[in-house]
């Protein structure tokens, strides 16, 4: 056993270094690009502390936290997607497809209706409401879709769509009884809003994401065994129920942290793990850790596009990910899903 394990360990190390370089490149690009048109020399000068003034605000207070938030959110969503896919043994499972994002979004809006604002303690409260919403939505999908101990692929997707529609309608109801003036912000937030995030909020976001990653990434090997079927996994010493609860909680936590701090962004959890699987094969020990960096790089790239293509106006990052994600979903549905036993 040690032979293949150490070989895959070496492969993982190379992979993570490579992806780390990709992340670094995209992040550097994102730091230099923006509608404020700060000259590259000035960006460097700000980074070395030689320039103060508005350029410093733009680079250090706006671009840098936003880059970090995009990396966190992308990594979280990709790992949540990989987790849900392993859990349901369904290549199309993903937080937004499963309705879990909508559940979390509903939780956030309920929290706001009850007056939770933008303070630090309140942010934790909003994240808790998002987590509750995600758990309820995820559990509902599971209950609706489960048939004789299994989760048929199509039933799961339909259950996810239905639960998603239900929570979206509930959000619409809340929005229509909210003050008209508050509508603008909510509508943009629902498409994903990687805005200027305050350092304290970023820290809370990072902490929640870390817990979620710990819950999922550590379970890559048992998730590989789960792919053989629950019974086989049990025989190989995996406590399948405990594993499923843990990964589900982790993926729901990652989803709800992202929804609470930057809004529901779709399809990252679909595209990134799938592309990684095409490149690396189905081994979760490679795919899940790689998804942390790959997801971050993808979302950062999407957000850098979103804030530059129509500058000085901005697009919602969710528009970009959906543009890439929807055709990709169709491709997977046509090519990959049949292999998954449809």
């Amino acid at each position: 056993m040690t032979g293949p394990a150490s070989a895959s360990g070496a492969r993982l190390a190379v992979l993570l270094v490579g992806l780390g370089l990709v992340v670094a490149l995209v992040a550097i690009g994102a730091l230099f690009l923006g509608s404020a048109r700060v000259p590259p020399g000035d960006v460097l000068a700000v980074l070395t502390g030689r320039v103060k003034g508005v350029d410093q605000v733009v680079v250090l207070s706006l671009r840098l936290p936003r880059i970090l938030a995009a990396l966190l959110a992308g990594g979280a969503l990709a790992v949540a997607g990989a987790g849900f896919q392993a859990l349901t043994r369904n290549p199309l499972a993903e937080p937004s497809v499963l309705g879990v994002s909508s559940g979390a979004a509903f939780g956030v809006i309920v929290a706001q209706v009850f007056g939770l604002g933008t303070g630090l303690v309140e942010a934790v409260g909003i994240a808790a409401c998002a987590f509750a919403g995600a758990l309820v939505a995820g559990a509902a999908v599971y209950v609706i879709a489960s048939r004789g101990g299994g989760l048929p692929v199509h039933t799961l997707l339909l259950a996810g769509v239905i639960v998603g529609i239900f929570f979206s309608s509930a959000i619409t109801v809340l929005i229509s009884v909210l003050d008209f003036d508050r509508l603008g912000g909510v509508v943009h937030w629902l498409l994903g809003n990687l805005g200027p995030i305050a350092p304290a909020s970023l820290a809370v976001f990072a902490a929640l994401t870390a817990v979620g990653l710990w819950l999922v990434v550590g379970q890559a090997r048992p998730l590989n065994l789960l792919a053989l079927g629950e019974e086989s996994a049990q025989q190989l010493g995996v406590d399948a129920e405990r594993l499923k609860r843990r990964v589900f909680a982790g993926a729901a936590l990652l989803t709800s942290a992202v929804v609470a701090f930057v809004g529901p962004i779709g399809f990252v959890g679909l595209i990134v793990p799938q592309v990684l699987r095409m490149l690396l094969g189905p081994d979760n020990r490679l795919v899940i850790p790689a998804a942390v960096l790959g997801g971050g790089a993808f979302l950062l790239l999407a957000d850098t596009l979103a804030r530059n293509v129509v500058a000085p106006a901005e697009l919602s990052v969710g528009v970009i990910t959906a543009f890439c994600g929807a055709p990709f979903f169709v491709y997977l549905l046509r090519s990959r899903a049949p292999q998954a036993g449809l």
Binding site: G34, S35, A36, R37, V38, K52, G53, V54, D55, Q56, V57, V58, S61, L62, R63, Q112, G117, T118, G119, S176, D179, F180, D181, R182, G184, G185, H188, W189, N193, G195, P196, A198, R307, A311, P312, A313, E314, L315, S316
Partner: protein, 297 residues
């Protein structure tokens, strides 16, 4: 006797026609034909409701929306629901002889449905400050309060001129107006707030960024070094927390100079008579030096 009867018959024939002469052209240029001057009006527009109260025609107002919250007395009127999907049943039950609606905020489906129900609709579409004054005068003629409305318009015009005179010839500070903080939404070309800022002697730094009220890049807004930052307050956004978010950016001139202010968004965004209150608020914040006591004398 027969003559008298004939005359009466003639009068009966002519009277309804004579009354049907009440024809008006609404703000979008549509002809609206009414049997008589409207006595039971439903307003689907908060700014129209405000205007009707301002010109003293509120007795003719029988229905408003949930968003018609000014003046306080407007809340006493029966509501027909929201602006986007008002209750048609609620409107019909009020037996209105005219519904006033806006092309910006109400839906065309609503106009069509009202037309099918044979309820006349008067459409408004104010874009800039002069449209607002024009609308006040129109609503005055519509409600038989033309003189009162003209007095209101004259007084508002005078106040606008007074502001212009006060700020004329002064340097124009760069102003960032924040309609919504997160994501940043600002007034751009063609937005009423952009015009009010210009009238108040300021230069809106986002006036060139697209049409209406776009979502805007925070760094682009700050890179233009705004000297005054005005944050519109809504329910949730007027809190000190939103201010503190901006106060972090001490390198921005507006923040370092302590010129970060919260303003009442309802004064700036509604196309009613209160825009002049809004203009005066803006002018005092953009040119406080022009309103000091020494200057006032």
């Amino acid at each position: 006797m027969t003559r008298l009867l004939a005359a009466l018959a003639l009068a009966c024939l002519l009277l309804p026609q004579a009354a049907s002469a009440f024809t008006v052209t609404d703000q979008t240029g549509r002809r609206v034909v009414l049997p008589a001057p409207p006595a039971r009006i439903v307003s689907l527009v908060p700014s129209v409701t405000e205007t009707v109260f301002t010109i003293g025609a509120q007795d003719r107002l029988v229905g408003v929306t949930d968003f018609c919250d000014y003046p306080a007395a407007a809340r006493q009127k029966p509501s027909v629901g929201g602006m986007i999907s008002p209750s048609l049943e609620g409107i019909v039950a009020l037996k209105p002889d005219l519904v006033v609606a806006t092309t910006a905020g109400n839906r065309h489906e609503t106009f069509d449905q009202l037309a099918r129900l044979k309820i006349p609709v008067y459409l408004v579409n104010p874009v800039d400050a002069s449209d607002v004054l024009d609308l006040i005068a129109r609503l005055g003629r519509l409600t038989d309060r033309a003189e009162a409305a003209d007095r209101v318009v004259a007084a508002l015009r005078e106040r606008i001129h007074a502001v212009s005179a006060r700020v004329a010839g002064r340097p124009r500070p760069r102003v960032l107006y924040v309609l919504w903080p997160d994501p940043l939404i600002v007034p751009a070309r063609g937005a009423l707030v952009s015009e009010l800022i210009a009238l108040a002697g300021g230069d809106s730094v986002t006036a060139d960024g697209g049409q209406g009220y776009p979502r805007y890049s925070m760094e682009a807004a700050l890179a233009r070094n705004p000297e005054v930052i005005l944050i519109a307050s809504h329910d949730a956004t007027g809190s000190p927390l939103v201010r503190s978010k901006w106060e972090r950016f001490t390198q921005v001139p507006a923040v370092s100079a302590g010129r970060l202010h919260t303003v009442d968004g309802n004064l700036m965004h509604r196309y009613g008579p209160r825009i002049v209150d809004g203009l005066e608020v803006l002018a005092r914040l953009i040119h406080p030096e022009a309103f000091e006591k020494a200057v006032l004398r």
